[in-house]
Symmetry: C2
């Protein structure tokens, strides 16, 4: 990874979902690189936005509280930007099933309106879209590469699939440079930990730091993980490299862990703690995808991205962060 940070110095970047987990880490990195950063976030309480995530960036970023469904605000905000990191989204499985139309508005309609705003007001912008491995559903083979068919298991997955599709389409048809990264189990400082809405690792960490046992559902399912700094690096590489235009890339981790091994690694990193293994709840069983881990050869070969933080190191950094700041995330 040899990021040309000059690609970001004195440039302008807009981050939707900028007060969220990944958005705020990305903002931190961009500010270090000398980028003029604008953050958009709706601060909907159930989502990942948290003003504390950017407290350390006070005065160094511009914050615009608005919803990506506000097409008029988006038309204004995309103008003059060099980069648009499009991270806003409804990410909860449960919410997408309970309120499928809200999920559709955020993950389909708003994505299309962001792209239309770019086409009309800023066709020179470069977009990086945060997609998800959830589009694949239950894998036919492992590791899963980008040729694997998409078979989403919830409304959220279907809508994210469309959102990703629009980005690639606008790249191919209108030449509005865009690419998508399919993230997998990203974790690290600033993730939501008060519940399992963003990732199960969040609630594990909270309970661990509160000296309470956490629950592992199933336990045998294999997963790979990406530490947030690695995910941010992938986004920057994708933003600055024209080879990424029109492409979709898996992110992934170097090692594969069962959920039970993951739990043990976290307790190891913490030095103490306990968990219980529970069988899958019935309503989750129907959408259980079994094992998943990614083949990330494409982004490795094309953009020279590789994960650099081991699960143990990543867990330690994350635990350190929440030992200091847990109260801000409850």
């Amino acid at each position: 990874m040899t990021l040309r940070t000059e690609a970001f110095k004195d440039r302008k970047a807009l981050i939707t979902g900028g007060l969220g987990f990944i958005g705020s880490n990305l903002a931190t990195r961009l500010v270090e690189a000398g980028t003029h950063v604008t953050l958009i976030d709706s601060l909907i309480p159930e989502y990942g936005g948290n003003l504390f995530n950017i407290a350390h960036l006070e005065g160094k970023v511009r914050v615009n509280i608005s919803d990506v469904r506000d097409a008029h605000a988006m038309k204004y905000l995309v103008q003059g930007q060099d980069y648009l990191f499009n991270l806003a989204g409804q990410t909860s499985h449960m919410d997408s099933m309970a309120n499928p139309f809200t999920d559709l508005e955020i993950n389909c309609t708003s994505q299309l309106s962001i792209l239309e705003a770019c086409r009309q007001y800023n066709p020179g912008v470069k977009l990086v879209f945060a997609s998800t491995r959830q589009l694949y559903g239950k894998p036919d083979y492992l590791p899963v590469d980008e040729k694997h068919i998409l078979r989403p298991v919830d409304v959220n997955g279907v809508n994210k699939m469309a959102g990703e599709g629009y980005h690639i389409l606008y790249n191919n048809v209108y030449g509005i440079r865009a690419c998508a990264l399919r993230l997998t189990n990203t974790y690290g400082p600033r993730m939501r930990v008060k519940d399992a809405r963003q990732t199960f690792l969040g609630i594990w960490i909270k309970l661990l730091l509160e000296d309470k046992p956490f629950e592992v559902w199933g336990g045998e399912q294999k997963r790979d993980y990406t530490y947030v700094d690695d995910a941010v690096e992938a986004m920057l590489l994708a933003a600055e490299n024209p080879k990424a235009d029109g492409r979709i890339f898996n992110l992934g981790g170097d090692d594969v862990y069962s959920l039970e091994e993951t739990a043990k690694a976290m307790i190891d990193a913490n030095g103490k703690g306990e968990f219980t293994v529970k069988s899958f709840p019935a309503d989750r069983k129907r959408i259980d995808i079994g094992d998943y881990f990614a083949d990330y050869f494409e982004i490795k070969s094309l953009l020279k991205w590789e994960p650099t933080t081991s699960l143990r190191d990543g867990f330690q950094k994350t635990l350190d962060y929440y030992r200091q700041n847990l109260q801000q995330y409850l």
Copy 2:
């Protein structure tokens, strides 16, 4: 193909897009089988609905002029139905690019609201969704099977992909039986011929019968075709067979023709006529998918479907129909 027509006798079927090309042919077949048929159509002039398509069914079907975007009407209309053939859609490439949000409303939002209506008011219904080979985009390999990744080349394709996804999802999560057929170049009586909005074969036929030369764009691209009676048969087989639930099937043709060979076959069937080969217009070039033909092994092995009408016979039947009825389609 051994269709158990008793599966349809005295049963109730709803067809969205029922005054369109395939919908009206399907309605004709269902009425013959003794089904109580309700047709929904918006009669938007640019789409395929045409009252003449069902003139021969006067008094034998119930017609409800409404738009699938009318969620309240749909809630009422799905009730009590045994089958829902979900054929309504915006199908124009050009319109989907010019008015992407209209396409989204019809092909995404309305599909979700139809499925929500079924979930709430008629979870026992069986749905057959008319999908399209356009989801595949430019093929990576030929013939294209259902494992091929989806890479739609227009907004219409992205939205249809989501619409299809919702159907499979509601089958898997809620047990609302649904399947999807990816149609490919369906042609025959009752298709739109006044322009190329539905299929290029339509405008060819109109010009041929008006003794005018028609245009072939490119000419070398290979395609397969499905005669409408074969497509209708596939829908009925999919509706009555529980093996289809949750599945996606390609339709296809037994033979593959270049566009130029297709044009010659049509002129052959007509006994006279001429065409000119034109290079691809620039705005189409960007979304040109090259050759496409389908592997339809899945539906053949599972549902025993096979195309039975050759291109020559199909063209002859179609030309006969429009020789009689062209005025009704101008």
